[in-house]
Amino acid sequence: MKLKTALLGAAATLAFAPAAFAERGADGNVKVLYSQAVSIMNAYLSSGTKDVEVGSLVLEPLAGFDNEGNVIPRLVTEIPSVENGGISEDLTTITWKLTPGLLWSDGTPVTAADAVFSYEYCTHPEGGCAQAARYEGIEKVEAVDELTVKITWTAPKPNPFTAFVGATSPILQAAQFANCLGTAAPTCTEQNFKPVGTGPFMVTDFKVNDVVELAANPNYRDAAKPAFATMTVKGGGDAAGAARAVMETGEFDYAWNTQINPELQSQMEAGGKGVFVSAFGTLVERIEMNLTNPSPDLPEGERSTAKHPHPFLSDIRVRQALSKAIDRNLLVEVGYGNAGRATCNLVPAPALYASPNTDCIEQDMEGAKALLDEAGWTVGANGIREKDGKPLKILYQTSVNAVRQDFQALVKGWWNELGVDVELKSIDGGVYFGGDPGSPDTFQKFYADVEMYANNFDGTDPEPYLAQYLCDKAPKPENGWQGENVNRFCDPAYDAMVAELATTRDMDKRGEIAIRLNEMLTKDSYVIVPLVDRGRLSAHSNTLGGVVLNTWDSELWNASDWFRIK
């Protein structure tokens, strides 16, 4: 495998050389398959990854992230920093300089006013902008001159690369969207389907939830790119069908998110028409422990709230024992293959923020049993542990998903071996993630003892992600059961450290704090039991060159560099 990767790498480098001399549109058509079809091209009106990514072919932000999570310029001359004066000493302003001579695909010049407009578009109170979080903490955005955009924050901002950075906060053309502010936003169908952009491609035909036809942008800033004259993004079907179209029939050049089981992966690789590529981001499949009592005997409104601590999961030894009993490597092997790896961290990347902790990887059944013995849970009749006459019985819920049900079955087996009685429950994703305060089955309400799902964070800075576990962010009846501190975790030391992170500017120090916060939730308390660091798995044909999988930005981030291997 190593050798194969190396050889492929070498082949890719060789193939890159001729690409340098290629001219725009020389390589004809490239076909991309998204198993979830594209609904809209405007990232501000959809938070769906598929929409954001395909939209990123047309609409670009000022800067993006590369495959290592570094900020790279797109529409600007350089990335602002304190050293080059782009970021003020007190971290309250950031100034972006647009590349002179940039044109929209319709031939008009890109100006700072477009960026200001994009900010106004997304922060309009009635627009329902899906990416509003990107613009949080901004006092004002102004156009200093034609090519200079200055953002002023309400407080010092250690990580200013949120607004206008990454595929989720692109620049719209003010002229095109002028009449689409606020409540008018959804009515601008033509604009939302065929936005004028600065990206390598522009939309020629858009069929909702079906197919997007794109053509090379004649005004793209690099005269030699993109190598493809047209691009077709087809949608629909499922991950296996998408993988098949690239790996076995060769009808498509690129298939997005071909998450299929490892066995099917190796079968399809035998097709010989393409390769799977994977990369790791921050998506972690985890088991969350409920620190409050979900018992149905409690009155509605008090169930799963801080009023009633959990009868046994509030004991760290029980939580740790449950974690120790899990063989994470086996879970990876069964569910994800090359597209997953065992992890003990809530924040698995970027390196600066990732804890080196690996104490949970090794399964330790004996240690787990010892912990339960120590906590006073003794094996009773029929093999179930009990304490004070109460059996150790766990309700374990997750969403309906083949891999998750496999995981549930495996984990149940291990926990049974410990002497824990496990009841499994799987809930339709639409309900589980639906957040409806009236439903008892949402993951936020957490009417179960443990639950499993995956989550990640946007961009490279884990601060907002870690801040979700503040004491007052727990979902409860008073806030309509919203929030992601589903464990009802509450530790003043944690809260204090999150506050410290918010004011810390030094990157190394930020890394240290984030690692501590991550460890407080995982190896110090076992409130969150991470299982698998889930990578992105996509497939591309052997004739498509230049593909670099990126989990920090749009997966199609470098589509301008793609070319046909001849």
Partner: protein
């Protein structure tokens, strides 16, 4: 006949209104929320704003009345406008999909051609295959042809399309490479070559669906023929010395077709409903795929509008079937 038709049409109005209310309530009370489509990385406050902007938080009856107005007043106006170039509907709020934020009707019009061409031609081919098989099977009951026909009908009935579809893809796309496994909806038929391409990409989904349709209809045809073959008038015809050909194809077939025509007419609305599974397997992206996608995404306006259109079609074709029956069968008169 005319008064009957008018009476039935008038009766359809309260029926459809009632159906629309039931659909609306069902769709609304179904679990699932458009929120589940928003990734967890989006903070709760922002989620709430998105939902508010969609209008998903308004009270039930407000949304229902709005939908009624949009469906029965705004959308017909828009249609009128596009047909005659007027602008009566200017500035009116149309039914907008939550997923794509675009008018639901436009998407439906966009999807209709591929559904009609694939599912429609599968239906026509299915009928064309089914009728002769049914006729001959009945005429030579328990012959090897009848046994074979029964066997194929059994397969068509019992093997699900998601299985036959994938098998066909594996054999004809992956191994033989004859047909594409993915339907290209942007293909325009302009010349011989593109026509051939269109035929190729339609081949597999049409085959899968035609098998299913043929299985059903051939059984109806067969049993209806059997019923009639045993009738006295058939013996009379034979006794009069008529050729076997005339007896079967003129006397028996005409009479046997009466119930089959009804079945065929009642099956037509399902063409518009698309073939949810087959469309998904071959990525035809017609109305069936549109519906299932909308259900997954809890796109209530889309689900509501689509299912209501299906309801209208079913009511309409029921009426058409009744009228046809009256015309074909002299024993049935509505006046």
């Amino acid at each position: 006949m005319l008064t009957f038709t008018i009476r039935r049409l008038l009766m359809a109005i309260p029926t459809l209104l009632f159906i629309s209310l039931v659909i609306f309530l069902l769709v609304d009370f179904a679990p699932g929320s458009p929120m589940s489509q928003i990734p967890l990385t989006v903070p709760p406050e922002v989620r709430l704003k998105i939902i508010e902007a969609m209008g998903a938080n308004d009270p039930l009856f407000v949304r229902y009345l709005l939908w009624l107005k949009q469906f029965f007043w705004v959308e017909p106006l828009v249609l009128f406008d596009t047909l005659f170039g007027t602008s009566h509907a200017h500035g009116m709020q149309r039914i907008v999909s939550w997923q794509s934020r675009s008018p639901v009707m436009d998407i439906i019009w966009q999807r209709l051609p591929q559904t009609l061409s694939v599912v429609g031609s599968a239906y026509v081919i299915g009928v064309l295959i089914a009728l002769p098989i049914g006729i001959y099977s009945a005429y030579r009951q328990y012959s090897w042809f009848d046994q074979l026909g029964t066997f194929i009908a059994m397969i068509g009935f019992s093997v699900p399309t998601f299985f036959t579809g994938v098998v066909l893809i594996l054999v004809f796309s992956v191994n033989l490479g004859w047909f594409p496994s993915i339907y290209d909806t942007s293909l325009r038929v302009t010349d011989w070559e593109s026509f051939l391409k269109q035929v190729k990409q339609m081949a597999m989904p049409v085959a899968v669906l035609a098998l299913y349709n043929a299985a059903q209809i051939s059984r109806y045809m067969r049993s209806s023929m059997l019923d009639n073959l045993a009738q006295d008038y058939v013996r009379t015809a034979r006794a009069k010395g008529m050729a076997e050909r005339v007896v079967v194809l003129k006397h028996v077939l005409r009479n046997s077709l009466i119930p089959v025509v009804t079945v065929i007419a009642l099956g037509i609305p399902t063409i518009f409903g698309g073939a949810i599974i087959t469309e998904q397997v071959f990525k035809v992206n017609g109305l069936g795929a549109l519906l299932i996608n909308a259900i997954h995404g809890s796109d209530l306006p889309m689900v509501q509008t689509l299912t209501f259109i299906f309801a209208v079609l079913i009511v309409m074709f029921n009426l058409i079937a009744d009228v046809l029956y009256g015309m074909l069968d002299p024993r049935i008169r509505y006046d």
